[in-house]
Amino acid sequence: MTDSTGVVEQTVRISARPATVWKYWTDPRRMCDWWGATAELDARPGGVCVVAMEGGSVMRGEYLELQPYERLVFSFGWEQVDGAPPIAPGASRVEITLVEDEGDTILTLRHTGIPASAAELHNAGWAHVLPLLVAAA
């Protein structure tokens, strides 16, 4: 099995100011509006960023960089790998950049250091299945 690393990059336009969007990455109550069932966040460099999913998986990370309303970086890993891809805490990294555009926010997410664990299965045909799952969502 090859052990290369993957990157996920996504951009979304949000009709809200960067200062508002920022709070959704740093305030536990707001974090639970979109990501986890519970969140423990200490939004300063070296502070914990722990988000527990409804299904029981726990994302354990650490805030690495915070430039208010512009850029936020945290490490990303799963504490409990049951059902989630095996990424150990600290193993991957998520960078969020917020750019103001006519009162809206262009949010770019870049998740790096992802282990490409089952690449051969993916090449064997699963690439066709995933879009089906997403399209039906």
């Binding site: 993957g6 990157v7 996920v8 996504q10 979304v12 336009r13 949000i14 009709s15 809200a16 100011r17 508002t20 969007v21 959704y24 707001r30 509006d33 979109w34 990501w35 999913m53 409804e54 299904g55 029981g56 998986s57 059902g83 989630a84 891809p85 095996p86 990424i87 926010t105 949010l107 997410l109 998740h111 992802i114 282990p115 490409a116 664990s117 089952a118 690449a119 299965l121 993916h122 064997a124 045909g125 699963w126 690439a127 066709h128 299945v129 995933l130 089906l132 799952l133 997403v134 039906a136 969502a137």
Partner: protein, 120 residues
């Protein structure tokens, strides 16, 4: 592999896979999401998914709990790609909802201001 692809080609079975994607569910809980479908029909779908290796079954008391067998089926980047698409969509909705009342008020103020400035 072909069996799994055939299993997932059915929209009901894809919906079931999404239900058990993030956690375990009993057959009854799954069936409750498909009120127009008979229990035997739901059971049949679960059997197809299980035979294709797409879900794991864990007995607990007199219940059988289903969960998506993600390991080995999907590469980590694809999983995260899907997770972030789903979650960023929710973040967008939440942040826009929070700012929406303020934007409406600002738009109203701007309209009133325009009206005042317009020569009579």
């Amino acid at each position: 592999m072909d069996e799994a692809l055939r299993a997932i080609a059915d929209p009901t079975r894809r919906a079931i896979v999404r239900l058990v994607r993030d956690g375990e569910m009993s057959a009854g809980e799954i069936a409750a999401h498909f009120p127009t479908m008979s229990r035997p029909a739901v059971s049949q779908h679960l059997r197809v998914l299980s035979d294709a290796g797409l879900v794991d079954i864990r007995p607990e008391g007199n219940r059988r709990l289903y969960r998506w067998r993600r390991d080995g089926l999907q590469d980590a980047a694809a999983f995260l790609e899907e997770m972030w698409t789903d979650r960023l969509g929710r973040l967008k909705i939440a942040a826009e909802r929070e700012e929406w009342p303020e934007r409406t008020r600002a738009a109203r103020r701007a309209r009133l201001q325009q009206r005042k400035e317009r020569p009579q």
